[in-house]
């Protein structure tokens, strides 16, 4: 207890710094992967992508990041066991944060595929298992989380397959795809707005003080969806048929219509990514803050302090603007054969799956989900060429990331314990 009183301020500062470090890393490296399909389909310029990402990552983190943060903060490590020595939990949280951040740095330097979510969960499980005991880990919840890592790419793939098929049947396979596109794209926009808004509203904006009845939530979501649809109708109607565009690629004009939709979907994806990944940076911070502020009470049911969410959001935006721009540009230039209609199917599927997971408080890997979504379109024969070896490497990276995060966090845990005890 004394340790907390003595070093409380230090712990808070450390938590803030490490949290910022991790959030910066997420902004610098992970956002580019989330925006890959949006930028690769050439519906957005790099500048637009960075702007959209900056605004919507923050919005997603702030408005919808609460549930996942709760899980990272107290859903994995059984805090009750530490009631007698809460400072261990502080060391553990700080260690996990540092471990995940360092692993992210190492992996990015080497170009390895790493999931920020897997890193932090591996780190938390690692320190809890070794630093405290096997019982300290809520294995049931962890199993549930791991299951979601398997389900989310599959679900995203299924949704993207269905979406692309619907685009084929409603628009591409018809006699007049251009006008069909102008007719149906606003409905797709409605879908984007409705789903994202619904999940966000339903799962609670409690932490910013908004509590609505279920009916009110559906109504607001419908409003958002309809608003988007009307805006979409306007922008789409301004697109005139350009006969010269169809010379090289018959569907060029149709793709221009989908370009409008893609911008909206990119916003949704940035929002979704922010909502799920911000927790990786600030979940542990929130845990430390809660313990320090309550003077050592681990089971305190304190609400998530708003400034913590803001820290995470700002960190991501900073990382994105300072470094992530370059990464997005590289990604955008290396993807050459993606069109808005295909990019849209993959991105919306991924965004919907991630937002759903965020609402349910499940930390999932946004990149794996996006990969699953891209594969879904590939299965519908909509992708020119997909590198399955790279896909396999990305999915196999768990095997390295979980223990790496765990080992690093154990190392830092005992280091911190040594410094402060």
């Amino acid at each position: 207890m004394d340790i907390i009183v003595t070093y409380g301020a230090v712990f808070l500062i450390l938590a803030g710094v490490f949290g910022l470090f991790m959030a910066w890393g997420i902004g610098a490296n992970d956002v580019a992967n989330a925006m890959a399909t949006s930028v690769g389909s050439r519906a957005l310029t790099i500048k637009q992508a960075v702007l959209i990402a900056a605004v919507f990552e923050f919005a997603g983190a702030f408005l919808a990041g609460g549930q996942v943060t709760k899980t990272i903060r107290k859903g994995i490590v059984d805090a009750d066991l530490l009631a007698a020595s809460p400072e261990l939990l502080i060391y553990g949280m700080l260690a996990s944060l540092l471990a995940a951040g360092v692993w992210l740095l190492i992996a990015s330097k080497n170009g390895w595929p790493v999931s920020t979510t897997h890193s932090i969960v591996g780190a938390l499980v690692g320190f809890a298992m070794v630093g405290i005991g096997m019982d300290a880990v809520k294995w049931g919840k962890v199993a549930y989380i791991v299951a979601s890592w398997v389900v989310s790419p599959l679900l995203a793939g299924f949704i993207s397959y269905t979406l692309f098929r619907s685009v084929q049947n409603l628009i591409l396979n018809t006699d007049d795809p251009f006008n069909r596109a102008k007719k149906y794209v606003p409905y797709y926009m409605f879908l984007v707005g409705f789903i994202i808004a619904l999940v966000t509203f339903l799962k609670g904006l409690k932490h910013i003080g908004l509590e609505n009845s279920i009916l009110e939530n559906y109504a607001y979501a419908l409003l958002v969806g309809t608003g988007l649809m009307l805006a979409g109708k306007y922008f789409v109607s301004r697109i005139k048929l350009d006969p010269s565009a169809d010379k090289d690629f018959h569907y060029a004009n149709v793709e221009r219509v989908f370009g409008v939709l893609m911008i909206v979907t990119a916003c949704a994806m940035a929002f979704a990514h922010g909502s799920n990944d911000v927790a990786n940076a600030i979940g542990p911070v929130a845990a430390v803050v809660s313990i320090v502020n309550s003077g050592g009470e681990v089971a305190a049911k304190s609400a998530l302090p708003v400034w913590v969410l803001m820290l995470g959001g700002m960190g991501i935006v900073l990382g994105l603007v300072m470094y992530g721009k370059r990464v997005i540009a590289t990604v955008g230039n290396s993807i050459t054969e993606l069109t808005p209609s295909r990019g849209f199917a993959a991105t919306l599927a991924a965004a919907a799956t991630v937002v759903l997971a965020s609402g349910t408080g499940l930390p999932i890997s946004t990149t794996h989900t996006l990969v699953g979504a891209v594969l879904g379109v590939g299965l519908a024969r909509g992708m020119e060429a997909l590198n399955l070896t790279v896909v396999r490497n990305i999915f196999m990276s768990w095997i390295v990331t979980l223990p790496a995060g765990g080992l690093l966090s154990i190392l830092f845990f005992f280091t911190l314990k040594g410094i402060f005890s």
Binding site: L375, V390, V391
Partner: protein, 226 residues
């Protein structure tokens, strides 16, 4: 920090554009047969030599494109068409250019002269064979639209129509080939016998160009069917 997200690595290098570039090169190569035969008819052997060199150079370029494409189809590449089908279409395309080179080579080497009686019909015949190649090129150019629509409905109908037209053109060349052989048969006794043998061979090889173009079409159709 290493620059570059790993998501972009998922999108492998697509074979579609290289296929289209290869076919465009083959078409350019084959189209040179028209000025070649015009020069033969005029008996302007310098122009024939120039045309033969152009054809040979373009056939080499096509070979380079073919080899590059084959190299960038690793086992782990997931495409909407089977790799075998794709490679077979590529091989067929390449054979068209090979035939054109053979024709040019023999004509130049033997200073082959066409008997006056077949001049007009041969001009039409060569034109039609190149048409077949152009039609095959049009069909191959639809590959990216096919992927964009996921190989269904309207676009497939369009391509199937193109292939049917290709079959019709090849059928024309078959008929005209028979006519030319008949015309040659009427005068063959008056010509040096070895030259006549090679003439028949050239007539057949020219028809091959159209045949192979048609086979590109039918391989493409097989690819769509799966």
């Amino acid at each position: 920090m290493a620059v570059g997200g790993y998501m972009s690595g998922i999108f492998g290098s697509s074979p579609v554009k290289p296929m289209q570039q290869h076919m465009a090169k083959v078409l350019a190569c084959v189209s040179e047969l028209i000025p070649l035969f015009d020069a033969v008819i005029r008996e302007d052997w310098d122009s024939v030599a120039t045309s033969q060199q152009k054809i040979s150079a373009m056939e080499k370029e096509a070979d380079v494109l073919k080899k590059e494409l084959r190299l960038q189809l690793p086992k782990g590449l997931f495409m909407p068409v089977s790799r075998q089908d794709l490679l077979e279409v590529l091989t067929m395309q390449d054979k068209i250019a090979n035939r054109a080179k053979d024709i040019a080579g023999v004509i130049l080497g033997r200073h082959m002269m066409l008997p006056a009686v077949i001049h007009d019909s041969y001009k039409k015949y060569v034109r039609r064979c190149v048409d077949a190649c152009e039609q095959a090129n049009r069909a191959i150019n639809e590959l990216d639209e096919l992927v964009g629509t996921g190989f269904s409905g309207q676009e497939i109908k369009l391509v199937v129509e193109m292939i049917q037209k290709l079959d019709a053109i090849e059928s024309d060349t078959d008929t005209w080939q028979a006519d030319i052989r008949l015309q040659l048969f009427a005068v063959e006794k008056e010509l040096p016998p070895v030259d006549v043998i090679f003439l028949y061979e050239i007539i057949e090889w020219t028809g091959d160009v159209a045949d192979r173009a048609q086979r590109v079409g039918s391989r493409l159709q097989l690819m769509l069917a799966r």
